[in-house]
Amino acid sequence: MQTPATHTVAARVGDPDRLLALHQANLLDTPPEPAFDGFPRVALRVLRAPMALLTLVDEHREYIKSGAGLGESWSGPREFPRTEAPGQLVVAGSGPIALADLREAASQAQWPAIASLGAAAYLGVPLGTGAGHVLGTLAVLDRQPRDWTTEEIETLQDLATAAAALIDERTRRLQATGDSLYEEIVANSGEGIAIIDTRGRYVQQNDVHRRLIGYSDEELRGQTPAIHFGEDAFQAMVAELQRAGRYRGELVSRRKDGQLIDVELSAFAVRDRDGTPRYFVGIKRDITARKRAQRRQEELHMAERRARQEAEVAVRARDEFLSIASHELRNPVAGIRGAVQLLRRAHQQGRLGDERFARYLEMIDTTSTRLAQLTDDLLDVSRLERGKMLLRLREANLEALIREVVSRQRLRAARHRIDLVVAPGEYTCLVDPDRVDQVVSNLLDNAVKYSTNGGEIRVTLAVDGEGILLRVIDNGIGLPAGEQDRIFQPFGRASNATAAAIPGLGIGLYVCRRIAEQHGGRLWAESEGENRGTTLSLWLPRQAPAEAEQPDE
């Protein structure tokens, strides 16, 4: 008996087209069907054999769809390993296989599956479909050796043709109605399902998938998911599927119309019996709405946290202000009260000489002036917070004004030397002279206050473009990097000033900058760093804008 070589058998049995036809027939691993039970029964009677089988052969096994003569309560194996039964030869050769005597030990060893049924002779004929694929066999078995006649072989073939016709009919019906479990699931799933081959090309998609990604079946032909996920995401996904056999992720998908949607993708590999991936199935769900809600929630959280932080900062700033204000206001009050009490006491005790009397009066005068200044500053801040600070514009000579401020300051700063350098030029301006005096005094006060070790303070005045530029340069504690603007914020103070406990409310420069801006000018600070001095520059236009002026009442 001539048999094809083993590898040829495997190749023919494993022909993908044949296997596809076999799967489409939906006969494997299915419950017994009376429609097929008839064929082995008739074969058994007509050929007067004790046993008959209708089998289907895939790449790994010969599956018994129905059998006759196997015993009333036959519960033996529903399948044989492919290589242990001769059905594979029928399939590979597309023709009958007649084995007359299987009693030899060699035959028993070659076909242990049918030997186990007690068979001594075998006749199998192909179940060939209309499309030309052999799906399995119709076979009869005898317990005695038997020479199968041509007539018997032809009879069995006729029967097999009828069985194959039934299988064809059934396959057509399945394809027409989509009436298989798999088709049902894919078609009716509420999720987008698509199948891609191992190279990532689309094979199939369901309606939901089509609507989700927005491409028709024709448009997807030969395409990969890169068309809507982008190349990088696609490559990562395929790599993971090849490696681990599954993939889960949230991806952004671009629909054909350009709209971006959030997709939750869960994909897995469908493998051969030998473990080689054949297809990848991807299940996609539109999570755009969920993601949007999530993002909105996150934004809300962020906004809330920001608001809370701002509130905390505000509370801290207020606390700090209150504690500094408390110190700044109580100190002069304590000084004045102490001086007054001392004045009275010394007078009562008869110890109040002229020197002490004059000294206490001077003390009260200076301190109350400072208190008045502080009160004015606080009122200015309060006014600025409500947006009201209007100017009384008058023609004034800034040079004269600044000389006056400088000489006033020299009297108060015995430990500092204040130099004034005025470049030749015309310094007549239209400004609010009281406010400019306030700004320049404040700048000089600061220069003195923040150069704790004394030293030289240089004031320069020069014409600069359409305006006038004043600089106050000290050799004091300077400004830490990045704090040049902080000192102009309400209650903002340089960290090194706070660290050194130099008293101050942090409102003077805030008020000064607002006054400068109200004049249409600018006020800014420069410093090369801590302990490297500070330069404050005030630029004022020759003429403050008219809208800054306070209307006459």
């Binding site: 408390s326 700044e328 002069p332 000084g335 102490g338 001392l342 130099i502």
Partner: protein, 124 residues
């Protein structure tokens, strides 16, 4: 009055500092004044008082930092300190820095004198 009780006033605010110095001198104390903690520590190297009247918020070295330094130097660590401050919650500050008493600014001369006399007499 070579054996007069000595009081060190540490206060940056001139008006308050001068008033305290004058009042205490009028009462017969020997008084020195420092404008901040650093100056006070220098003075304490060669001049030992019975009591220190200490302001809290001062430039260069504030009252809190002064106390930390003071406690580290055995010879001056035990000199009692009266806190005098315009800060809020003076009593709490007083506890924090371990002062024997606190005066809140603005204060009466009489209370200053009674506190100073109480704590200098204990020492004497």
């Amino acid at each position: 009055m070579s054996d007069a009780l000595r009081v060190l006033v540490v206060e940056d605010e001139d008006a308050i500092g001068e008033v305290m110095v004058d009042v205490l001198r009028d009462e017969g104390y020997e008084v020195r004044r420092a404008r901040h903690g650093r100056e006070a520590l220098e003075l304490l190297q060669h001049w030992m008082p019975s009591l220190i009247v200490l302001d809290l918020m001062m430039p260069i070295m504030d009252g809190r930092a002064f106390r930390e330094e003071q406690r580290r130097v055995p010879t001056i660590a035990d000199v009692p300190v009266v806190l005098i401050s315009g800060a809020r919650e003076v009593e709490a500050r007083c506890q924090e820095i371990g002062a024997v008493a606190a005066l809140e600014k603005p204060f009466d001369i009489e209370s200053l004198l009674s506190v100073v006399s109480r704590y200098t007499s204990q020492v004497a």
